[in-house]
């Protein structure tokens, strides 16, 4: 551990020196020293190494990682030690005369066999961990995760809960500003909630391209393949908030689809489930009534900015020709049936949005047809329902 600490402080020191380089002209050495002290105090923020995480699997992975790391360090010290000794000692300027030996079968056999033994010793614990982490049969509950360009959908099949989780507005609005919110790019508009000390199976799939659902602290990272379902599991030991990101290039906003999980006590989880079920029932109710245009437009703006603005832009200008403009669009100003069809089923590079509720879809379609200077009809939730 001393060596690791040394490494860390070296890196932190290098980091400080580096920073100072830019400001040296402005700062006196006293100020420089105090900055170095402050940043040494908060070096935990830097993140130099993998963290242990909060599941048995993530801890197994961490210890495997450290084991292989130290094996590499030891081999490196021996091999590079020999090399640098030779570089310093066997140089012509020191009068070294070249020996002429150039083979030794014994040596070759030795340095073939020793690595084999080391590798076998590493493979045994690695195999155990692998077999354990792939066994999802003991799950007590299941959630389904669907990747979309560029958001995550979560379904709790038994509880009947389903929602979409987007990058939070605080991050979206500060992409091009200097002032960044806390958890910049690692905050969502709706978090996943999971119970502590429960074996959870994740069923992971995708609706369009390949995504990857990753929470480092759980030791769960699994590709979301369109048309196929992968599984993974975790039993989380500690209550808390855990963050991750999509880990497979999935197009333009790959860097902007974070994952945030709130792990709560079993009692709080039950409360959350009841609350979600109640609001799902309310949403189903609201889908049957007729909405005012102003209400549709207000809700539609939020849905649009969460789901559509990534490609079609907040002002509806799009990025032609890949992402067409909403402004003056033939579809947004044409018959509502065609408009609903495209939003529900997608077209070419545009994915389907049928996972959104009737009220959400009706309001966003109404918004698209009446914002950006467009003037077309209003769409009610009942219209969407019959168009499905």
């Amino acid at each position: 551990m001393i060596a690791l600490n040394f490494l860390i402080s070296l890196a932190v020191y290098a980091n400080d020196c580096f920073y100072l380089g830019g400001y040296m002209s402005k700062l006196s050495s006293v100020v420089a020293l105090s900055i170095a002290l402050i940043s040494t105090a908060v070096f935990s923020e830097y993140g130099l190494n993998m963290t242990e995480g909060v599941t048995s699997v993530s801890r197994d992975i961490y210890s495997l990682h450290m084991m292989v790391f130290w094996v590499c360090v030891v081999i490196a010290i021996i091999v590079f030690g020999a090399m640098f000794y030779s570089v310093f000692a066997h140089r012509k300027s020191k009068g070294a005369v070249a020996a002429q030996f150039h083979e030794s079968t014994k040596a070759e056999i030795l340095w073939t066999l020793i690595p084999v033994v080391i590798l076998v010793a590493m493979a045994i614990p690695a195999s155990k961990t692998l077999i354990n982490l792939e066994d999802t049969s003991k799950a007590e509950m299941t959630i389904k995760i669907t990747g979309h360009q560029w958001k995550w959908q979560y379904d709790y099949p038994k509880e009947g809960i389903s929602f979409i989780s987007n990058l939070a507005k605080t991050s979206k609005n500060s992409l091009r500003t200097d002032l960044k919110p806390q958890h910049y790019l690692l905050e969502v508009d709706k978090r996943v909630v999971l119970p502590v000390d429960t074996s959870i199976r994740f069923l992971i799939t995708s609706n369009d391209v390949i995504h990857n659902w990753w929470i480092p602290a759980f030791g769960v990272k699994q590709d979301a393949n369109p048309g196929f379902i992968n599984d993974a599991w975790a039993k989380i030991d500690e209550i808390g908030t855990y963050r991750g990101q999509c880990a497979e290039l999935c197009g333009k906003d790959h860097g902007f689809m974070p994952i945030v999980v709130d792990v709560v006590s079993k009692a709080d989880y039950a409360k959350w489930v009841a609350k979600e079920q109640a609001s799902a029932a309310a949403a189903a109710d609201s889908a049957t009534k007729t909405w005012l245009k102003s209400d549709l437009m207000a809700k539609g703006k939020d849905v649009y900015e969460a789901n559509c603005a990534g490609c079609h832009k907040i002002d509806g200008s799009g990025i032609p020709p890949i992402f067409p403009a909403m402004k003056n669009s033939v579809i947004a100003n044409g018959p509502a049936v065609e408009h609903m069809k495209i939003v529900l089923h997608g077209k070419g590079g545009m994915p389907t949005f049928k996972m959104l509720g009737d009220a959400d879809l009706a309001s966003v379609i109404t918004y698209e047809r009446n914002a950006f200077g467009n003037t077309a009809s209003v769409v009610q939730p009942s219209d969407v329902k019959s168009a499905r």
Partner: protein, 535 residues
């Protein structure tokens, strides 16, 4: 045509004059030069794209570009560096050196040689032109996973597919030429086990190319038909499988990794004995290790795919097979160090690059071993740890050996010496900046930063800034490199035939600036013996 034939007289078979010399040339040295300059230009273009990437990543937030353009930069950077810079540079080295090393006058198939080079500028041009097309260049990563590269890709993807086909033709023809040259044009008295290591590694690499490139051609052809002709190889809604794309891609992609590193092993196996003034340790085990690595490279491809949902049995197999590669690779490193051991070393520029190759490539090897451990790969996969790993093996591995080779054989190519003190300054500049660039990326990856993202959360800010500054410094080092090479060609002091005291090999028996046709009379048995690596 009459002027061209007129300048050919029986005793002097020299190059044509002017631009047409380069267009029509069938000479291995001219073509080698063309390959090397092409690769260098592509290196600069690919490097410029990397500068764009590092500029955007200098600070959190989107400062310079749209995420879609960022993805175009990462994709094209990877494609250009792999297919435009590293591979053509090694073919260029092969063209220049193999006929000289095996005692041949030229390559076995000189006209095909001309063609396989001249395809390249067109393929590269098509690839680069996609930047100017509607919808932009390919933006799906150099690994172009379906369906992002099929259903969801820009129209320019079809041009990318055509460019990959052309590059594949070129590589396969280059490989056939090298196999034919090594097996048929070798001096009659040179046995296979007398061949220098660079020739051996290129011979083995050629077989990898012939095996792997058609698989890549298959993958892009399936993409082409999926995109344009209604097939569904990689589309689950039509009964296909997107994971199958990855299997096909990596069945090409993993041998490809060794295509880019085996010739590098060859180069280093020449330079270290020269400056240690001692024969290469374990010549035959080096040959066998190279062959084993090449064989293993075909049976480990799915270690790039541990997270695709493979069955446990598959994961276990690919983990074991992958770890096995450490054994022959280790043998090579141990042999290089044994070659240095009790030598009489001097540290001219090529040796500095070669020793730092051994050091930094081995670091890339260690992170490769870590990545091979399947459960740990769950945390490393698609993070900056992977980015750090493959830049350690490709930049401080493959590219390092190409630069080492350039300094080592430049006197033979030009008949002149480069400026040794400038070259040493360049070396130290490059090696410090490249580590500032790539080493912190290990930390970023372990702390959880995914690769291929244009923006990142705040805890990654410091190391990204360090990495970017290192990147700009490393990029700038190529200005000095260009100056040193051009200065050598224009103003270099005349070199002697064997400018390195300890150098062995038939190429050093030629004139200081090797004559246009290397060996018109095959070298004698005695000469081959005394110049071989195991005497």
């Amino acid at each position: 045509m009459t002027t061209a034939t007129a300048s050919h007289d029986e005793h002097h078979h020299g190059p044509e004059k002017g631009l047409m010399r380069w267009v029509k040339t069938t000479n291995h040295k001219d073509i080698g030069t063309l390959y090397l300059w092409f690769a260098f230009i592509m290196l600069l273009i690919g490097g410029a794209l990397a500068m764009g990437i590092r500029m955007e990543l200098l600070q959190p937030g989107l400062q310079l570009m749209d995420p879609h353009f960022f993805n175009q930069l990462t994709t094209m950077h990877g494609l250009i560096m792999v297919f435009g810079a590293i591979m053509p540079a090694f073919v260029g080295l092969g063209n220049w050196l193999i006929p000289m090393m095996v005692g041949a006058p030229d390559m076995a198939l000189p006209r095909m040689n001309n063609w396989s080079f001249w395809i390249l500028p067109f393929a590269g041009g098509i690839l680069l032109s996609t930047f100017f097309m509607e919808g932009g260049a390919p933006a799906f990563g150099w690994t172009f996973y379906a369906p992002l590269s099929t259903t969801f890709a820009p129209d320019s993807t079809d041009f990318f597919i055509f460019a990959v086909h052309l590059l594949g033709f070129s590589s396969i023809m280059g490989a056939i030429n090298i196999i034919a040259t090594v097996l048929n044009m070798r001096a009659p008295d040179m046995k296979l086990m007398d061949m220098p290591l660079f020739v051996w590694t290129w011979l083995i690499t050629s077989f990898l190319l012939i095996g792997a490139m058609p698989v890549l051609a298959g993958a892009v052809t399936m993409m082409l038909t999926d995109r344009n002709f209604g097939t569904a190889f990689f589309d689950a809604t039509g009964g296909g499988d997107p994971v199958m794309f990855q299997h096909i891609f990596w069945f090409f992609g993993h041998p490809e990794v060794y295509i880019m590193i085996l010739p590098a092993f060859g180069v280093v196996s020449h330079i270290i004995p020269t400056f240690a003034r001692k024969p290469l340790f374990g010549y035959s085990s080096m040959v066998y290790a190279t062959a084993s690595i090449a064989f293993l490279s075909y049976i480990v491809w799915a270690h790039h795919m541990f997270l695709t949902g493979m069955p446990v049995a598959g994961e276990l197999y690919f983990m074991y097979a992958t770890m096995l590669i450490a054994v022959p690779t280790g043998v090579k490193v141990f042999n290089w160090i044994s070659t240095m051991w009790r030598g009489s070393m001097t540290f001219e520029t090529p040796m500095l690059w070669a020793i730092s190759f051994v050091f930094l490539f081995t670091i890339g090897g260690f992170s490769g071993l870590m990545l091979g451990v399947a459960p740990a790969d769950i945390q490393y996969h698609d993070t900056y740890f992977v980015v750090a790993h493959f830049h350690y093996v490709l930049v401080t591995g493959a590219l390092w050996s190409i630069i080492a080779a350039t300094f080592y054989w430049l006197p033979k190519w030009t008949g002149k010496m480069y400026n040794e003190s400038l070259a040493k300054i360049h070396f130290w500049w490059a090696i410090i900046s490249v580590n500032v660039l790539f080493f912190p990326q290990h930390f970023l990856g372990l702390a959880g930063m995914p690769r291929r993202i244009p923006d990142y959360s705040l805890q990654f800010a410091d190391f990204n800034m360090i990495s970017s500054i290192g990147g700009f410094a490393f990029g700038a080092s190529f200005i000095l490199f260009t100056y040193i090479v051009v200065d050598c060609i224009r103003n270099g002091k005349p070199a002697i035939a064997r400018p390195w005291e300890g150098a062995k090999g038939l190429e050093w028996t030629l004139a200081p600036k090797a004559q246009y046709h290397s060996f018109n009379i095959p070298p004698s048995k005695e000469l081959i013996k005394s110049e071989s690596q195991h005497s």
